[in-house]
C-alpha cells in the first residue's frame, strides 16, 4: 500500500518525474554503453593479439602496421620483400611465423594470402568443405559466408585493393573450398587463400624484380605501377601455364606475424630490424596499449560527464521531493492521524525516490543498449567490428544499479528525515 501510494505520488507530478527519470536514464545509458564498449573492445583487441609477439612489415607508423595486419582496420604501410622476410622467418628464435599478403577484396571483405597456421592461430576450424589447397581456392570467414550467403563451390571475382569499387580482376575466379567456423576474431570477416594466389592474381613479379627495394618503401607508387601493368599482364598470365608457388623469387608480401621461441627477440628485434633492413618490427601489445591510452582520455571524459549527469539527476530528485514536502506535510500529518508511523512516512519518501531511480536505471540500460546497437551498426560498416548489445556485464552493471540506488537514497535522505520528524500538532494548528 505504501508502495502503491509512492507510485501514485510519483505520477501525480509527471513533469518533475519525467525530468528526473530522463536525467537518470541518460547518465545510466552513457555509462552502460561505456561499460559494454570498453569490455567488448578490449576483449576483441586482446583476443586478436594472442600469440603475436611482433609484426614484421614495411616501414611507417607502427600503429598503422598493427592496425592493418592484425586488426585489418587500416591500410597497410606497404609491402616487404618475401626473400628478405624469409631470412627472419627462418631464424632460430622464431617459433612460428605467419606470412600475410594483402591483395584484393570481394564486396568489401579482404582477401588475404596466408597459410593454415593463420587459421590455427585463431582456433578456426573448417566448418564446411576443406582448406585451400590449389591457387585461387579460398576459405571464407563465417561472417562473410553468412552476410554474402556464400556456399562451398561458389566462385567469384575479386576487386583490386581494399575498396569494394576497385577494378575487377576478371581473369582469375576464386573458388570457395571451405567455410571457417565462427571465432569472434577478425578471421570471421576475411577471405583466406594461399600466398601464390595473390601473386598470380597481380602477376607483377617482373616489374618488382627490377626494383624490389624501392617498391617496398613506396607502397603507393607500387600500387600505381600495378594498375598500369594489369592490362599488360594479361598476356603475361597467358604464358603462365603453370601456377606460381611459394618458391617464386623476388615476390612481395605485406606483413609477417611472429611468435618467438626466445623471448629476448621481442625486445631486441625492433631495433635490429630497424637498423639493418628497410622493414620494421612492431609490438602489438605496445601499440594497442598506446591506442587504449589515447581512447582512454575520451572514455574517461565521457565517464565523468555521465557521473555529472547522475549527480544532477540526484539533485533534481532532491529538489522535487523537497519542494513537494511543503505541500505534502498536511498529507503526512493526516496519515499520522490515521495511524501511520514515522517509519512509514520515511519509507514512503524513500520508496518514491528509489522507484524513480530504478525506473531511470531500467530505461537507461535499455536506451544504452539501443545506442550500442546503433554504434555497432556503424562500426560494422566502417571497421567490420560488431558489438553485442545484449551482453550483460553483471558485475559492473550491478555496481551501476547499486550506485543509482545510492543516489536515490541520498537524494531522499533530507526530505525523508523531515517527514519523520514532522510535528503533527504544529502542522495542523497552523493549517
Amino acid at each position: 500500500m505504501i508502495a502503491k501510494l509512492a507510485w501514485r505520488n510519483i505520477w501525480f507530478k509527471p513533469l518533475n518525474t519525467l525530468l528526473s527519470i530522463i536525467l537518470l536514464a541518460s547518465s545510466v545509458a552513457i555509462i552502460t554503453v561505456l561499460i559494454l564498449l570498453q569490455k567488448q573492445f578490449e576483449e576483441k583487441f586482446s583476443s586478436n593479439i594472442d600469440g603475436v609477439d611482433l609484426v614484421l612489415g614495411a616501414q611507417g607508423s607502427p600503429m598503422q602496421l598493427i592496425l592493418s595486419s592484425v586488426y585489418h582496420i587500416d591500410n597497410p604501410t606497404g609491402n616487404i620483400s618475401n626473400d628478405s622476410a624469409k631470412v627472419w622467418m627462418n631464424h632460430p628464435f622464431i617459433e612460428k611465423a605467419i606470412p600475410l599478403a594483402f591483395g584484393d577484396n570481394y564486396r568489401g571483405f579482404k582477401i588475404v594470402g596466408t597459410n593454415s597456421d593463420y587459421l590455427e592461430k585463431y582456433k578456426a576450424k573448417i566448418a564446411k568443405g576443406k582448406l585451400f589447397d590449389k591457387n585461387f581456392e579460398v576459405v571464407v570467414g563465417s561472417e562473410v559466408a553468412q552476410k554474402l550467403n556464400l556456399k562451398v563451390g561458389d566462385t567469384f571475382f575479386g576487386s583490386h585493393g581494399d575498396a569494394a569499387e576497385g577494378e575487377v580482376h576478371d581473369h582469375y575466379a576464386y573458388k570457395i573450398s571451405g567455410i571457417a567456423s565462427p571465432t569472434g576474431t577478425v578471421i570471421d570477416n576475411l577471405i583466406l587463400c594461399n600466398i601464390p594466389s595473390v601473386w598470380q592474381m597481380h602477376g607483377t613479379h617482373e616489374e618488382d624484380a627490377e626494383n624490389p627495394e624501392q617498391s617496398s618503401t613506396e607502397p603507393s607508387r607500387s600500387e600505381e605501377d600495378e594498375h598500369i601493368h594489369t592490362e599488360a599482364c594479361n598476356h603475361d598470365h597467358a604464358q603462365h601455364e603453370t601456377d606460381m608457388t611459394l618458391n617464386e623469387p623476388n615476390m612481395e608480401i605485406t606483413a609477417v606475424l611472429l611468435k618467438f621461441r626466445n623471448k629476448m627477440g621481442i625486445v631486441m628485434w625492433p631495433r635490429i630490424i630497424a637498423q639493418n633492413t628497410k622493414m620494421q618490427a612492431a609490438s602489438p601489445a605496445i601499440e594497442i596499449n598506446r591506442l587504449f591510452s589515447l581512447f582512454g582520455i575520451g572514455l574517461k571524459a565521457l565517464e565523468y560527464l555521465a557521473y555529472a549527469i547522475m549527480l544532477i539527476s540526484g539533485i533534481s530528485i532532491f529538489i522535487a521531493l523537497y519542494n513537494r514536502l511543503k505541500e505534502r506535510k498536511y498529507e503526512f500529518a493526516l496519515m499520522r492521524i490515521n495511524g501511520a508511523s514515522r517509519w512509514q512516512l520515511l519509507s514512503l519518501i524513500m520508496i518514491e525516490s528509489l522507484i524513480l531511480c530504478f525506473v531511470g536505471f531500467l530505461f537507461g540500460t535499455i536506451f544504452g543498449r539501443f545506442a550500442l546497437g546503433f554504434i555497432s551498426n556503424s562500426a560494422e560498416d566502417d571497421f567490420k567490428m560488431t558489438f553485442n548489445p545484449i551482453e550483460i556485464v553483471w558485475q559492473k552493471e550491478t555496481m551501476l544499479l547499486v550506485a543509482t540506488l545510492i543516489v536515490g537514497i541520498i537524494a531522499a535522505l533530507i526530505p525523508a528525515i523531515k517527514a519523520y520528524q514532522l510535528n503533527i500538532s504544529k502542522t495542523l494548528a497552523n493549517a
Partner: protein, 209 residues
C-alpha cells in the same frame, strides 16, 4: 469512555492552559466552546494524542494514552480516534474512495473497501468516490473527512471547527451527520468550536472562557 483529570499544558511560561475535567460517554456528544487563544485546538490535540500533557491524565476506553509509547500511540490513534479537521486534507494523488480505504489500512492493515463504500453512500458521496479530493466542493470534502474518521469505527470522534468554513445549510447538514453517525457507530463525539450555530444543537457543553 473519555475521561480527563487535572489536564495541564503549556507551550511556554506565558501561555499555560489548565483544562476543566471532561467526560463523555459512548453515543453522546460534548461541545467545547471558547474564544480564540483559549486552548481549544490544544485540548483537541491533547485528546487525540498529538500532544502530550504536561500534567494530568487522559483515559480513553480505560487506556491512559499518556503512558503509551510513540508507536503504540500511533496505533491506538488509528484504531480508536477519528479526527475531523477544520480544513480537510487529503492524499492529493488518491481518489476519494482510496483516501478512505487508506485510513483503514494504516490503522488495521486491512483494506475495508466495502465499509468505505457504505460510508460514502451514507454521506451522499457515491458519485464522487472516484474523483480526486481537489475536484470536490468544500462541503463534500468535509463529508469525506467524516467518512474517513469513521472508517475504523473509533471509540472517540474528535471534530475541530468542523463547520466554521461552511455555509449555514452545509454546517447544519454536517452537524446532523456527525450526531447521527456517532450514535450509529457508538462513538463519543467531542466537537471543539466557536461556531455559535452549533450551540443550540448540542446540550452538553463546556466553555473554556
Amino acid at each position: 469512555m473519555l475521561q480527563t483529570k487535572n489536564l495541564t499544558f503549556f507551550y511556554n511560561k506565558d501561555t499555560q492552559f489548565t483544562f476543566p475535567e471532561l467526560s463523555c460517554d459512548a453515543s453522546k456528544a460534548l461541545l467545547i466552546t471558547g474564544n480564540s487563544g483559549k486552548g481549544k485546538t490544544t485540548l483537541l490535540h491533547l485528546l487525540a494524542g498529538l500532544l502530550r500533557p504536561k500534567k494530568g491524565e487522559i483515559s480513553i476506553e480505560n487506556t491512559n494514552i499518556s503512558s503509551l509509547s510513540e508507536k503504540q500511540l500511533d496505533q491506538f490513534r488509528g484504531k480508536n480516534i477519528g479526527l475531523i479537521l477544520q480544513q480537510s486534507h487529503f492524499i492529493a494523488s488518491m481518489t476519494v474512495l482510496e483516501n478512505v480505504v487508506l485510513a483503514s489500512w494504516l490503522a488495521t492493515g486491512k483494506k475495508s473497501v466495502q465499509k468505505a463504500e457504505k460510508l460514502l453512500a451514507e454521506l451522499d458521496l457515491v458519485n464522487q468516490k472516484h474523483k480526486l479530493p481537489s475536484q470536490l466542493s468544500i462541503g463534500q470534502q468535509q463529508r469525506v473527512s467524516i467518512a474517513r474518521a469513521l472508517i475504523n469505527e473509533p471509540k472517540l470522534l474528535l471534530a475541530d471547527e468542523p463547520t466554521s468554513s461552511l455555509d449555514d445549510e452545509n454546517a447544519f447538514k454536517v452537524a446532523e451527520l456527525l450526531e447521527k453517525l456517532s450514535k450509529e457507530y457508538k462513538a463519543a463525539l467531542v466537537i471543539v468550536t466557536h461556531d455559535s450555530r452549533l450551540k443550540n444543537k448540542f446540550s452538553n457543553q463546556i466553555n473554556l472562557n
